[in-house]
Symmetry: C2
Subunit: 155 residues, 2 copies
């Protein structure tokens, strides 16, 4: 890959999910607590948004488990062999996750969010407000395997 880029956690996830799982994330409420470097002001106005996008680091993933070419999504052979950038699984180069969550409330330097699919202790590297203008402007098409795979992900 190209020259290395250094990023740092801006905060950490606190919730009751201790291991990665592939279902029932929808009702999980997580606290995202910013690290001490940040003043409360960096979240000012965030409560005017209903949704946030959280970018985080799959910190438990070992380097030797990263997939650089293709695999069956969720290692399920019923799904077609698919390139790692054509799926959202954890085992990806740079180990970054990105998930849109619902903002429940803000308390000082903590955000409480619903539907973040990241386990307790996960480093967060960015928080962005969701604006309608950044969502797809046309209908989204996706293959059948991805719809099947997402069946019990949130519920």
């Amino acid at each position: 890959m190209g020259n290395s880029i250094q990023i740092r956690p801006i905060g950490f996830v606190i919730n009751d999910r201790k291991t990665p799982e592939d279902y029932c994330w929808g009702e999980v409420v997580s606290e995202i607590k910013l690290v001490d470097l940040f003043s409360v002001e960096c979240l000012d106005g965030i409560e005017n948004f209903s949704h946030l996008e959280i970018i985080f680091h799959f910190h438990l993933l070992k380097d030797e488990d990263v997939v650089f070419d293709l695999r069956h999504p969720r290692n399920n052979k019923q799904y077609p062999l698919t390139g790692i950038f054509a799926q959202r699984g954890r085992a990806r180069p740079n180990k970054l996750g990105a998930t849109i969550v619902e903002l429940v409330k803000r308390e000082g330097r903590s955000l409480f969010v619903k539907g973040l699919d990241a386990i307790d202790g996960t480093p967060v590297v960015d928080i962005k407000p969701v604006m309608k203008e950044f969502l797809p402007r046309d209908a989204v098409k996706q293959p059948e395997w991805s719809t099947d795979l997402m069946k019990n992900y949130w519920k």
Copy 2:
């Protein structure tokens, strides 16, 4: 911030936008060319998705220009003073951008995408397929300033 995390460019943006601008990104077609490390297989099946999310690095942003607390969005005093994590501007800790684009075509290790708001030469650090299930499941609410700011962003 916490312990540093190393990430690396998986590819680079090629387009005719040489300077950051805040308007007319919608029709820009960009090539994302993967670095040599990757085989073509890492994109296999991506053409079955209509939209992708591109995570990239605002590489031209100087460290001293990063905002850690608050500023007026786009430095426009008509917009309220707002925390850096309650806006999507470039001058943010970790300098990461995340944008949903339309996939136009794939050619070998290159993707051609429409609506990527990143200038020529931008390092890309992840590519994720957009699945409906990862979009907001309820109506999105956002403050008026953000709607105003986005007025000419795509057109």
